[in-house]
Symmetry: C2
Subunit: 197 residues, 2 copies
């Protein structure tokens, strides 16, 4: 990985504009020239802020992956019932997805464009997140608060249903909904289902 | 669209092998030579069975999209309560996804590689499917059998949770589970949630 450039407000803006561009055009189809164009500067000046396109992808993707992992690392060791842990990690997941809409979609496909070492790092973070998530589900099954259903299937069911908010296609027609309403609704549907009793 | 080649058992095998290859390598990275290699014939002979790579993608993708649409067209006009319609379309969706694992994953990304006219056709089918699905949800809300929750959010919640089975990444480590057990579990989790009462 190239040496990270010094943080600055301008650099952060450029990173966010790049994330949007990657979303709209795809990482592969986006050039440094495209990034310079939306940033309103010459490509040559852009290199004062970023190393190259690959550095931008790495910084965006690993930052968001690390946020997911930091959340689950804290929650999974809390001395609270597994059902509350599950509620907290689902809420944290949705908060991160909502707040980082510009870059979280990169997690779906664009991680494949990472250079080998960074790709390994990303996949380790992702596996770690999924393992800790599944561990909470298994604790919940053990404690009798979650249905005794295949925990892998349950994990995929939950994570898939959280994933649509950062599917760029769906994101193009965003729901007019607040984060609070979104969290409440998704938790309600996941926890007690779509059917009205 | 090129004129479809005559159906034959050999052609069908080649289509299925192509779907698997597109899954493993991606459509773009797969060449006609690659298809010929797994089919165990010369590229020149392959053209007796298929027109080209684009024809293969079109046939595979539209066949699976049409199966989803045929199912919802029949179910959505049945004179049965909306909750039963919803159960039937979810089961039909899972059956199609399970039976056509080789090609259903193309629906996630590879449709973007279709030529313009076929892409339009595919997107019309997809919109039509989603609209009819949402219509059933709205009937259910109206009838008081489904929770009165934003129907777009509910649609995305349901479709996303059905989608993981044909995510190629997850499909690489398939669950050891029968179709019956899979349908029963997903319906249970979707309808009444993950929490044990």
């Amino acid at each position: 990985m190239p040496k990270p450039k010094k943080q600055s407000k301008r650099r952060e803006e450029i990173l966010q504009m790049s994330a949007k561009l990657f979303n709209e055009k795809g990482y592969k189809a986006t050039s440094v020239k495209d990034i310079a164009a939306v940033a309103g500067i010459e490509a040559a000046s852009l290199y004062n802020h970023i190393e190259n396109k690959q550095e931008v992808l790495q910084v965006l993707l690993l930052a968001v992956a690390e946020k997911f992992n930091a959340a689950i690392d804290v929650i999974s060791v809390r001395g609270i019932p597994p059902k509350r842990k599950l509620k907290q990690i689902i809420e944290a997941h949705l908060e991160i997805a909502f707040e980082h809409r510009n870059s979280v979609h990169l997690i779906l496909h664009d991680w494949k464009e990472l250079e080998a070492q960074q790709k390994d790092k990303f996949l380790r973070l992702r596996n770690d997140y999924q393992n800790k998530f599944q561990q909470i589900i298994e604790e919940g099954i053990e404690a009798g608060s979650l249905k005794a259903v295949n925990s892998t299937l349950q994990l995929q069911h939950i994570l898939s249903s959280l994933r649509w908010i950062y599917n760029p296609e769906l994101y193009k027609k965003p729901l007019e909904i607040s984060l609070e309403e979104y969290k409440e609704t998704v938790l309600n549907l996941l926890f007690s289902g779509i059917i009205k009793e």
